[in-house]
Symmetry: none
Subunit: 226 residues, 2 copies
DNA sequence: ATTTGCGTTAACAATTTGATAATATAGGGA
DNA sequence: TCCCTATATTATCAAATTGTTAACGCAAAT
């Protein structure tokens, strides 16, 4: 899957095609269009889009038929498919979703909302791809899932708060985290702890890592940097 | 992620909560509910649902705030979140989706359509599921089908809970399973057991395997590693 | 009816963690 | 330079968490 996502839109109304295409292109998507079901299938095979937006009522094969045909082929088993239809009856919508579509939108739809939905779908797809909870910075590896910190291949045992604190700071290297920010993220809003608590934990981390990677920004907070 | 998906519904209207809950349960989902934003956050942390359905307008924290708070936490980075709101204005919907939600549904909604949407979301998520019945890790063989564990060719008899617990931990070597996670997966959400139950089973496993393969991560959970 | 094993809990021991107080140190501004 | 304030350091102690053992209820098997 490329960096720039490709979207195929199939609709028999030129106006709709035009509006959607314009908006998606403006957002940086690569867009291909089709005027009916058969064209849609051809275009899908030819372009291998990342997302297909299908009108339901089209000349020739309707959207649901197209979806069915595509979903049967291994190449389109995982392709995102969304229906965009003027038909808003329950039966059709359910049938559409059960055909294997990822969403069912009804016309008329605001271009902005359509964009948001499309973005949401791609966001989800990308998330599932990199399931890694690992942050690596030079010789330092922070693994959230394993709850482990390694420095130059050596395991370092951190207590929970220490780990959370380090993970927070390391999540955005260079960013200065305000003391309040740290308190909210690591301790939560309900717990109230004294002023020196953060310092003590910072010190423990510095000690255990034996590495000058946490910088104090006086009067502001702390930041992580190698 | 267990076979049975867990869904958290947050809505301040008891009727809605009831209807949705009923329908999702009928479909075989495991359902947890919350009456407001704060409850939703608590319930999410406690139950680690696979999907969260959030009303927007709720007493205390509203749905969008809840979504924001959860999405900031690594544990909920990939959790499915869907808004279900009576607010159907464009601004709110866009804001909702940009907050990191996977969908935005508007009330009133037919239970059947909601179900179809929920099913569609899970269908999309479940593309990586690859359930092997036999796990082999070094000298250790865990056979889910035969309910047996072998270590260096020698059969080891584990009781049901012990087996389930070990199988869970071994399903992702290195991953730390939170106590809640373990309770949900091995004991289920309905059953409530005491604090020390997990420890006792862990001890029995350690004893029977006579192998230092389960590590305690204090304040977090347990992990399996050879 | 008796035995056996599982799952759970209670009770207590052992351990680790995290917050605080007290004190030292550093750095910027008057 | 001298203060004043913010942070660093250290030791201490309470709280939280887990480990261990024994015992109990229950159900299945004998």
């Amino acid at each position: 899957m490329s960096i720039v996502k490709k979207i195929l839109i199939a609709d028999d109304e030129p106006d709709i095609l035009e509006i959607i295409q314009f908006n998606l292109k403006a957002e940086g998507y690569n867009v291909v269009t089709a005027k009916n079901g058969d064209e849609a299938i051809d275009a899908a095979k030819k372009n291998q889009p990342d997302l297909i937006i299908l009108d339901i009522m089209m000349p020739g094969k309707n959207g649901i038929e197209v979806c069915n045909i595509l979903r049967m082929q291994p190449a389109f088993k995982d392709t995102l498919i969304v229906f965009l239809s003027a038909l808003s009856d329950e039966q059709t919508e359910i049938r559409g979703l059960e055909t294997g579509a990822d969403d069912y939108l009804t016309k008329p739809i605001s271009p902005k909302i359509l964009l948001s939905k499309v973005n949401a779908l791609f966001r989800r797809i990308n998330k599932d791809k990199d399931e890694t909870e690992i942050v690596q910075l030079g010789d330092l590896v922070i693994d959230r899932e394993k709850y482990m910190v390694k420095f130059k291949g050596i395991d370092i045992i951190l207590a929970r708060k220490e780990f959370e604190l380090l993970a927070l700071l390391a999540s955005k290297p260079g960013k200065v985290f305000l003391r309040n920010e740290i308190l909210n993220q690591v301790w939560g809003t309900e717990v109230i702890v004294g002023d020196r608590t953060i310092d003590v934990h910072i010190r423990k981390i510095r000690q255990k890592l034996n590495l000058d990677c946490i910088t104090t920004v006086k009067g502001v907070g702390y930041k992580f940097e190698l």
